[in-house]
Subunit: 106 residues, 2 copies
């Protein structure tokens, strides 16, 4: 069983930030991690992922830089900002409230 987009919608940014809370990372790695953590039951669409990076960076929640090293394909690394950390924490609280409310409603 897989999950509809509308159900995950709105959590994409929080999922990315959660990963960045544990250290800098890049798109491909984050998505692989999502796949692994969910035992292949979920992964982000490429476009969704990179779109979310743009939004997060524009909002000041992450910063980006091209990775050093000349082996392999180039990587754009992302780093969470202090604002991003605050935003992440707020989203976690919101998720806990959401679970509570939806469990009451359905």
């Amino acid at each position: 069983m897989s999950i509809r987009a509308d159900i995950i919608r709105g959590h994409t940014e929080t999922i990315i930030l959660a990963h960045l809370m544990k250290g800098n990372s890049y798109g491909y790695e984050i998505n692989k991690s999502i796949k692994e953590k969910t035992n292949n039951r979920y992964e982000l669409n490429d476009a969704t992922l990179y779109c979310a990076f743009r939004r997060l960076e524009e909002s000041g929640y992450i910063t980006s830089f091209w990775g050093e090293g000349n082996s392999g394909a180039r990587r754009r690394y992302y780093s969470i900002t202090n604002q991003g950390i605050e935003f992440y924490k707020k989203n976690i609280e919101e998720w806990n409230l959401t679970k509570e409310l939806i469990d009451k409603l359905i």
Copy 2:
């Protein structure tokens, strides 16, 4: 604290069906019930609600009929179908899986 639309998105139909699982009802009543159950922390936008009714009826998950009785404003009642009950149960399972996955990811 309130909840962003994107977080609830996708649950509207299940919330409506959950209400109809307990008996026939109409839009205004369903929305009032949502408000009460969540202590005014959440309610559906009118347009969202009536849009969802259309989708659910087109999909065969609910049927509708105008309420009898000549007191008060007219009401369009909705009734959940067998297909709707199946769909509701599927959505509940999906929600349980979603909670599990998101809790792992964020």
